[in-house]
């Protein structure tokens, strides 16, 4: 564990800002409409690009008739694979750069491998003209058989056999010998990220140099990747993402529209705006793949786990390998001597999948935690008690101690808050005050914690303010505010005097907004940069002409609340403004770089944990099922800003309800088209579907990860929700749904004990 960054962090109890619920400092910009999102950027001579999309999912383009489109009003250009100009493939990902899920540049050739793939682009003076022209382009195809088969396990894989992941003991033998066995397949459908903000690129080209306004969760990677795709040096690409209308993982890596817009700007030497439509969001900017997961659990009659087998296959696209790491949490969640995890990918004519909030663990834990619930039923054991019985003392997959694990406390606190002790396990036995049937379910959850490399700079200015800069971006979760808190904490400068500048690759390279890593990652870099800036200020104070500190040394001074003073006599003091004015210096700065835990040797297993308790209400007379109550207890280190952290968990729980109850991208098996590609047809929770969500943070600092003990909360809140919902559904209805989402038709069967798989 790298501890190089904090020599002497301020103790937590001194802080007036860390751990204090703080409204987003960028909130007023968003609520007043002055926050400039990517597609809000406009330039003189800006033109609009609208892609022409394939209406087949397998085959090739045999002809493109652009004659009508070119004649339409306002049309500037129409490009196809024949004349888009050079766009290159990226070299293989190395470390944490050049990451791209769909590696084929747009319009590379005539091949079509998924419905909605770009086969052309129209550029015009208005967006309406561009769209009309794109729709007027006539494309002819040669079709080849498509494969959109929704069954994955047991179908041909992209590799000769399943890939073996974490394993220990002899799972096959121990399962056979287990007194109690459970073996079932759980299916999750393809799911589409639907942030309100559509993907967009505004590309400005100037003499070999690209400025790309992007909807990116990872501007540094986007810069490097687009430089490779466009065939220019990274210093000739600048990526800017000031505000994001969220992304949920869908905006982590570059998608083809970005290169398409940049190529149009280059070809025309004119700024180009391309906003991906909502239906294209279902086609060419990633999705969570459909996944089949077999889970086999073996246990002794007292509930002690003997075996966990987890075999899963996700669909991927024809050209790219995307593997959903469903087994990540499986290997370490419980104490179990025999574990075997295998995975595979099955190629389908779909767009390339990508990370969606909690990739791997979220669908993985739906399967594993559903299986645990079913095992508890077989054991006639309380599902909370079953989990507590199998609590491990260390990470049995790596043998390392957990840096900080309080899953058992999450379960106990959650059970207490939820009223779990009142649960009657008999199916359909519990009623609420209105006489409606209720069902209660529980699931545990886990999500890896990590730091990655990051740089940051903090400046202290002559006007008494501070400025912190970093080429990361705020996905909406409160990163701007966290930066301000960190600087304020370390320097004593009040929060409102800290300017935070993010979202521009001209700034020091910062982390991705993903993996729930941002907070843990920026904390050491920003604290160090702030310390270095303070040191620089102290040096200035010592050396300035007529300094009252003349003859003193660095160790004699301290900075408190923006004032440099003598430790021995605090009346000898100069404010930051006075120091810098005295020296005629506009600003002092401190830079810092922190290393990551990713790929480094670590002495600990870093994970966050949590427990989800869900109540559903069931009215069989009208087949109406609603999630009516959720209690979530999260162990994710110290919450730097409990207010935004709670927002993250609440939003994640709502998304978990969507996963359990509503979300599914449906493909037409004849054409491969995502058929419900609109916000009306792709059902997600609306406000009326959101129950009361009670969020508790245990708030144990994880000092092994960084000096403030912060981990991250972007994803953990979604993990386990779907399993807790389906467990509650079983408890209420007797129907065990093993294929998400839970739908009315699954529940219309009157008989108890029905299984839907």
């Amino acid at each position: 564990m790298a501890q190089e960054t904090q020599t002497n962090p301020k103790p937590m109890f001194e802080s007036k800002v860390i751990g204090v619920s703080t409204p987003r400092i960028d909130g007023p910009f968003k609520t007043t409409g002055t926050a400039k999102y990517t597609s809000d950027h406009n330039f003189p001579d800006l033109v609009y690009a609208w892609p022409v999309t394939a209406t087949i999912s397998s085959g090739s383009v045999t002809g493109v008739d652009t004659s009508q489109a070119r004649k339409m009003p306002g049309v500037v250009a129409v490009y196809t694979h024949e004349d888009i100009g050079p766009l290159y493939r990226t070299p293989p990902a190395a470390g944490f750069s050049m990451i791209q899920d769909e590696r084929r540049p747009p319009l590379e050739d005539a091949e079509v491998r998924y419905y909605g793939q770009y086969v052309g682009v129209a550029v015009a003076k208005t967006v309406e003209q561009a769209r009309a022209a794109a729709e007027a382009v006539r494309v002819s195809y040669k079709q080849t058989p498509l494969n959109i088969n929704g069954t994955l396990l047991g179908t041909p894989l992209s590799t000769p056999s399943m890939r073996r992941g974490s394993h220990r003991g002899d799972a096959a033998a121990s399962f056979e010998a287990s007194a109690v066995q459970h073996d079932a397949v759980y299916k999750t459908p393809s799911a589409t990220h639907n942030p309100i903000e559509l993907h967009a690129t505004v590309a400005v080209y100037d003499d070999g140099r690209f400025t790309l306004y992007e909807t990116s969760q990872a501007i540094v990677n986007h810069r490097d990747t687009l430089a490779a795709v466009l065939g220019v040096s990274p210093e000739n690409v600048q990526v800017i993402t000031r505000f994001l209308g969220s992304g949920f993982g869908g905006k982590l890596w570059p998608w083809p529209h970005s290169a398409l817009a940049a190529a149009c700007a280059r070809n025309l030497n004119q700024p180009v705006k391309l906003v991906v439509s909502r239906s294209m969001m279902f086609q060419s900017v990633g999705h969570r793949p459909a996944i089949d997961q077999q889970v086999k659990l073996g246990a002794e009659t007292n509930g002690k786990l003997t075996t966990i087998v987890h075999n899963y296959v996700n669909h991927t696209s024809m050209a790219d390998d995307y593997s959903e790491g469903c087994g990540e949490a499986t290997a370490l969640l419980y104490s179990c001597p025999n574990v075997d995890i295998t995975s595979g990918m099955a190629r389908r004519n779909v767009g390339t999948p990508t990370s969606m909030r909690g990739p791997g663990a979220v669908p993985g834990l739906y399967a594993v935690e559903s299986a645990m619930d079913e095992l508890a039923v077989k054991l006639e054991m309380d599902p909370v008690a079953l989990r507590l019985l199998n609590e491990p003392e260390k990470d049995e997959s790596s043998g390392k101690p957990f840096s900080s694990r309080h899953l058992a406390e999450c379960l106990k606190v959650g059970a207490e808050k939820f009223g779990w002790s009142q649960r009657n396990p008999a199916v359909g036995s519990m009623k609420n005050a209105e006489g409606m049937t209720v069902g209660w379910g529980v699931a545990a959850c886990s999500w890896g914690a990590m730091r990655i490399e990051a740089k940051a700079m903090v400046e202290l200015l002559v006007d008494g303010t501070a400025r912190v800069t970093c080429a990361t971006q705020d996905i909406g979760g409160g990163t701007y505010t966290t930066f301000a808190q960190l600087v304020s904490h370390e320097t004593g400068i009040p929060l409102q005097k800290v300017a935070v500048v993010l979202g521009d690759t001209r700034l020091p390279d910062g982390p991705i907004s993903g993996g729930s890593w941002t907070t843990a990652t920026i904390t050491p870099a920003v604290l160090s940069a702030a310390q270095n800036a303070v040191k620089a200020l102290v040096q200035v104070a010592l050396r300035a002409q007529h300094s009252p500190f003349a003859g003193k040394s660095e160790d004699d001074l301290e900075l408190v609340e923006g004032v440099v003073r003598l430790k021995a006599d605090t009346s000898v003091a100069l404010s930051q403004e006075e120091v810098l004015r005295l020296a005629n210096i506009k600003a002092v700065s401190g830079n810092a770089e922190s290393r990551g835990t990713l790929g480094a040797h670590n002495d600990y297993s870093f994970h966050s944990f949590g427990a989800q308790f869900v109540e559903v209400t069931w009215q069989p007379e009208i087949a109406r099922l609603r999630v009516s109550r959720v209690v979530t207890v999260i162990d994710a280190g110290r919450m730097l800003n409990p207010r935004t952290a709670q927002n993250q968990i609440e939003g994640a729980v709502v998304m978990g309800i969507g996963m359990a109850m509503f979300e599914s991208t449906e493909y037409d098996e004849r054409t491969g088209a995502p058929i419900n590609a609109s916000l009306a047809d792709y059902v997600m929770p609306v406000n009326a579907d959101c129950p009361k969500i009670d969020v508790t943070f245990l708030d144990y600092p994880d000092y092994h990860l960084n000096a403030l003990g912060a981990r991250g909360v972007g994803e953990i809140g979604m993990a386990g929700v779907a399993a807790a919902v389906t467990g509650a559904v079983y408890h209420a209805t007797g129907v065990r749904v093993r294929s998400l989402p839970v739908r009315i038709e699954d529940l219309l069967v009157p008989a108890h004990g029905h299984e839907v798989a």
Partner: protein, 334 residues
């Protein structure tokens, strides 16, 4: 979206004249009236509707909601959905209509959408909305993509080998149960059409959805007074709690006298190619005691002709439960 011409109608006759020359007033009409635009503009953006000319009728004085001396309710074609749903006399006399409207769309949409616009609401069938697919309703003779495709949301009543698209409206289900009358002014002057005769089953011409012909402008609807003591209500079942189309809905009007059903009107939504009135189920209930068993028996009758598709067989049972429960609720109010 195709370029189109925009004009503003200054009078009813002006509006009628502006559309009279069109080849059809149905799917594919070259001239369309536009009011709230919440439905038509969506379909224009998707190229499912490609009118060359829009005639803005918002300036016409057609937004009144009034109770006539004989008890009839008169609702103007341009009365916004939200105005109708929140109108005191509508709420008092026809709870089913207010409830139906409020169960649909969102506040913002209801503030724009009009009574007549909703009357002509188009199907939500995904294939109708996607011009890259075959659809007999959008492009007669091209085939039906839904029958062997994604049909979970689609109709189980009134379907044909050519079309199984659901009529998605909530308002019209209530109007069907209320036996409303649609008042139209056309080239030959005004006429009135009972709502039961307003919609056309798809048959082999699913592009023909109503009896309207070029020049016809819906000016208002009327709803007769309900029998003294009648109760009404609307129940909508759907995947999520709000902002979602019905998988099944039921509009019921029920009067119980001396422990017997004296008057009943039933219409179903979310299951029919048109708002689905079921006289047979009404007949089955007349004179019966208002019990769950009788209501369920009526629901069985109502769904007797159901013809489910590959993905929506569950709608048969769901619609039965929906109707049974709606009738139970109405009877318990009495």
């Amino acid at each position: 979206m195709q370029p189109f011409e925009w004009s503003t109608a200054t009078s009813i006759s002006d509006a009628v004249k502006s559309q009279a020359g069109a080849a059809t007033a149905q799917q594919g009409a070259s001239v369309r009236y536009i009011a709230g635009g919440t439905n038509l503009v969506d379909y224009m953006k998707l190229n499912a509707e490609t009118p060359r000319k829009l005639v803005d009728i918002n300036g016409l004085e057609l937004n009144g909601i009034e109770r006539l001396p004989d008890g009839t309710m008169r609702i103007g074609a341009l009365a916004r959905n939200s105005a109708v749903a929140h109108d005191e006399s509508v709420r008092a006399a026809y709870p089913v209509l207010s409830q139906a409207i409020l169960s649909g769309a969102s506040t913002q949409l209801r503030n724009m959408a009009t009574t007549a616009g909703n009357l002509l609401q188009k199907t939500r069938c995904v294939y109708y909305r996607d011009p890259s697919t075959a659809c007999n309703k959008r492009e007669p003779g091209s085939g039906c993509s839904a029958i062997e495709g994604h049909n979970r949301m689609l109709a189980i009543l009134g379907t044909s080998a050519h079309c199984i698209a659901t009529n998605p409206s909530d308002q019209n289900v209530a109007l069907m149960a209320l036996e409303a009358t649609v008042h139209v002014t056309g080239v030959k002057g005004p006429r009135s059409v009972p709502i039961s005769a307003f919609y056309l089953l798809p048959g082999s011409t699913p592009q023909q959805e109503t009896v309207l012909v070029p020049g016809d402008l819906v000016t208002h609807i009327t709803i007769p007074a309900l029998p003294e003591g009648a109760r009404s209500g609307y129940l909508k079942l759907r995947d999520r709690a709000s902002y979602e189309f019905a998988l099944s809905s039921a509009a019921v009007v029920l009067k119980v006298e001396n422990g017997r059903v004296a008057f009943v009107r039933i219409a179903l939504g979310g299951v029919g190619t048109i708002p689905w009135r079921t006289p047979e189920a009404e007949e089955a209930l007349r004179g019966k005691a208002p019990t769950a068993e009788h209501f369920r028996a009526a629901a069985e009758v109502a769904l007797r002709a159901a013809k489910p598709q590959s993905q929506n067989a569950f709608k048969v049972e769901l619609a039965k439960r929906c109707l049974t429960h709606a009738l139970m609720q109405a009877s318990q109010q009495a």
